[in-house]
Amino acid sequence: MLISRRDAIRGSVAAGVGIAASTLVGRQAAAENDTPVGSILDATGAINIYGLPMIDATRFAVDSINEGGGVLGRKLRLIESDGQSNNQVYAQNALKLILDDKVAALMGGITSASREAVRPVVDKYSALYFYNEQYEGGVCDKLVFCTGVTPAQQLGVLVPWAAKQYGKKVYTLAADYNYGHISADWVKVYLKQAGGELAGEEFIPLDVVNFDSVIQRLQATKPDVVMSLLVGGNHIAFYRQFAAAGLKGKMQIVSATFGLGNEQVVLKPEEAEGIVVIYPYFQELDNPANKKWVAAWHKRYGEKYTYITDSACTVWNGWHLWAMAVNKAKSLDRGKVIAALESGLTFDSPEGTIKLDPKSHHVVHSVHLAKVNDKNGFTIMQSVANIEPADTMKVCDLVAHPNQHKQYTPKF
């Protein structure tokens, strides 16, 4: 029954040779005449609730660009990598895509942690990188373009609105990492401007699932509004426990993160209904570009597709902005493409018209306040047009000071 040691050694050696051989055989033959582009997103692991729609959007975007003739007359060859919700893997994949596959552009990263693991590699080996996801703002890097919303565009609208609508006492619950902390700081800033009062602030580690003590403190403090900046699969338990404790009628939950992972589908309507969120894109948006896009998406991925998230639209925006810039620059030379990206591009996205701000490398978005409905979706309540990423624009001017590769963190 037990394998003898000799056989074990023989087996290992054979396996080693086999593995070595297969790596050589497995080398893909790159087609001449196409342009390699890279994408790293989380298909597996705890972050894949955000990643899967983004991966679908990536493939859809690249195919749509290719159908339109590709870039500079050549088709794009998409090389995908799974970040596996692991920042080490992100860094290694970025290395491979940049140095080995020599991609013309790299897009990806979901959590801020993953972006910060990729950015040093991008800076060290000088590659072009798009981060297509909302985040805490402040990245100021000549080689990097961030197309998602920043606190000024989300919290800057949500906080004053909530204070006016529901009451001035706000309790913040944030995920305990950089995004949560910096966003919570911004909540304080906007709350003060709106004349509100911070009843309390708590940071919850990403792996916590027991919100007992949190619920107790909420009951003791009795805020009007609970501002949720919770992230990841484990934090879904909060909404469940909140409803189970009967608090839904007593305080209003507003959130800048709820929904990006299709939480409104995982939770039951009685647990999620009524939660207020704010994003530039919702599947329910009623404009011609979106109607066409949703129809095309459902044709490609099926009518029963769970829900097209805001992150998916952000990814779509990123790819098209890049393709536009390359075609405008008439070259893949990095310097020329960056100059084209800094020329004030606008794009007709399913979310509406967006503009890429030249100095900050960030995007001007229109945002919408919406409520979770009983159909696992959202009902849009109010819209605010063309909000600038003022938080980053204030500190970052890459046209006047191009040699920057950092992230500014706000000092309050």
Partner: protein, 287 residues
């Protein structure tokens, strides 16, 4: 004020009860067989998934909780026969092998059942203590932990199996000379310990999001509790769970859950330095 205190006491009791549930299985296996099973967390995870699957396929939450010890106990028996059996008296090797088993199980469950978070709703609603609401399920957990301890204690002290098991623990050769086959006893003990782990995981399932890596959060705490408790199953584990659970929830309430964890770990470290045999060592004064 009174209601605040009452609610806090329930919270502390809950923290202690959770630790007890998580550690009891590990303590039995360690106390009886000197085996540290680092895959205990994954057995709990399997118990939690039993509840999820049972819910999904219409059998309901409570059936799942009842099924979990059976399912996981069976898995434990298989593991004992295939791996643990060869590693008795090799403490560090069992740690390494069960570590390998643990990461293998996480991977296998990720591949088969998917890596995303699942959940079941917490049943039983809530009741009022003054102006606070407390989830009734938390009280159920406390009761379940107490019941497990009592049941296990009775099993070891009032049944024939318990007698034989305790004898094997003290002197395996003598028991063999009396005609009982120690390996069978070990196998059944390990199975029992695994079944307890499965039950613990199943009970905790409605409170957390169930992911394949669920066990990792639990195993660290269980491991520390058992090592701090030492070889005496009841005195050691209960003592350690009480001390560490109280510190964890006290510090967590005053500051954050992170510092609660750190305080708990630091306390265990200090305890081990003072009493290398754990709390059992202090109790029996074997030093």
């Amino acid at each position: 004020m009174m209601e605040h205190l009452a609610v806090n006491l329930i919270g502390v009791a809950f923290a202690i009860a959770s630790l007890v549930l998580l550690s009891l299985g590990l303590a039995i296996v360690y106390g009886m067989m000197r085996v540290i099973n680092l895959a205990q967390g994954e057995f709990m995870m399997l118990g939690a998934y039993t509840v999820i699957l049972s819910s999904t396929y219409g059998l309901g939450l409570w059936a799942g909780i009842a099924l979990a010890p059976v399912v996981v106990g069976a898995i434990g028996l298989i593991v004992e026969r295939c791996i643990i059996r060869f590693l008795y008296r090799r403490l560090l090797d069992t740690m390494l092998a069960t570590w390998g088993l643990s990461i293998g199980l996480i991977a296998a469950v990720s591949l088969i059942l998917g890596p995303t978070t699942e959940g079941v709703a917490t049943p039983l609603g809530h009741f009022a203590v003054g102006s606070y609401e407390v989830a009734t399920y938390n009280v159920f957990v406390i009761a379940a932990a107490a019941a497990c301890v009592v049941m296990t204690w009775c099993l070891f002290n009032f049944t024939k199996f318990g007698l034989v098991a305790r004898g094997t623990m003290q002197n395996a050769d003598m028991v063999a000379a009396l005609g009982i086959h120690p390996p069978t006893i070990y196998m059944m003990t390990f199975g029992f310990g695994s079944a307890l782990a499965g039950l613990a995981g199943a009970i905790m399932a409605p409170l957390t999001g169930v992911v394949p890596t669920l066990g990792l959060a639990f195993i660290a705490k269980a491991f520390i509790t058992v090592t701090a408790g030492g070889a005496a199953i009841f005195v050691g584990t209960l003592g350690a769970a009480t001390l560490l659970g109280a510190i964890d929830s006290a510090v967590a309430f005053v500051s954050t859950p992170i510092y609660g964890q750190v305080a708990m770990l630091a306390c265990a470290l200090v305890l081990l330095r003072i009493a290398p045999q754990g709390i059992s060592g202090l109790w029996h004064r074997r030093g």
